[in-house]
Amino acid sequence: MSQFFAMGGYGAFIWPAYGVSALLLGATVAVTVRAYRKARAQLAVLEKP
């Protein structure tokens, strides 16, 4: 198990790279979806007769 996390001695570089990638991509998806929902909701209010 600890061998798995050690990644042949390169764990200190490999795990952060996965972490940063997941974090940045995930945050971008979240921000994008949230902005879309907000714009859609705002327009729905404005277009209501």
Partner: protein, 237 residues
């Protein structure tokens, strides 16, 4: 191309293809990440070869996005079509994000393999410049109040910045760089083993499709926001 270049038609078409794009993104990105993670250690690089499947797709996407940003900017300057402005504007933050990701994963790969997180070599420096061009582009959009003028100024900046793209691409040939040369798209075929090539191809496709998904959603967002703004302005007049 032009059938698409109409906000109303774009909204209709994109709501039809977006679900498929999401499915394709999830499948390719998932497969790429899993296969990349399970790839055997390289005989020279050991387990750090896993970093290739994170770094190369991010860096590739950063450059592809800039290419599309320059292309849509050209459309906007030549044909003055509002949707191409929207498309260019919507692409920029995504491109900047991929550039940051390319830089960070590159640094984390550079440290164990080269002994340094950062070196001022031609590839790394021109790639850092790409980030500054993206940031400048985004700043320009928010600095100019008038939308039409902002779009024109930003489009011109985008085209000027496009000069940097071939510099990044060929930097490894033109200068003596620490960064390795092209090993995929080269005459004589890819120079990496199939066990690495497949996960890399899937990851790159996954990142690319992720970009197109997010780009589509961001363009839709901008169209909705502009529609809301015009209603508000119309109401005030």
């Amino acid at each position: 191309m032009f059938a698409f270049a109409n906000p109303k038609r774009f909204m209709d078409a994109s709501s039809a293809f977006l679900p498929w794009l999401v499915v394709a993104t999830v499948l390719t990105l998932g497969a790429g990440v899993v296969l990349g993670f399970l790839a055997p250690p390289d005989y020279q690089q050991g387990d750090t070869v896993k970093l290739m499947f994170l770094h190369v797709p991010a860096a590739w996407s950063a450059m592809m996005v800039y290419g599309l940003l320059a292309l849509t900017s050209l459309f906007s300057l030549v044909w003055r079509h509002p949707l191409s402005d929207v498309a260019a504007k919507a692409a920029a933050p995504l491109g900047a994000m991929f550039t940051v990701l390319g830089l960070i994963t590159g640094a984390l790969w550079g440290r164990p393999m080269w002994g340094a997180y950062w070196v001022w070599d031609a590839r790394l420096t021109s790639f850092l410049l790409l980030l500054f061009i993206y940031l400048g582009y985004i700043a320009l959009w928010s600095a100019v109040e008038d939308e039409v003028r902002a779009a024109r100024a930003a489009a011109i900046l985008a085209l000027l910045g496009a000069v940097n793209l071939p510099v990044i691409e060929f930097s490894v040939d033109w200068w003596n760089t620490l960064h390795q040369g092209e090993s995929i798209a080269r005459a004589g075929g890819p120079r990496i083993s199939a066990v690495f090539l497949w996960p890399l191809a899937l990851s790159a496709l996954g990142y690319t499709l992720l970009f197109f998904t997010l780009w589509t959603v961001r363009i839709r967002t901008e169209i909705l926001e502009r529609r809301a703004r015009s209603i508000l302005l119309g109401g005030a007049a």
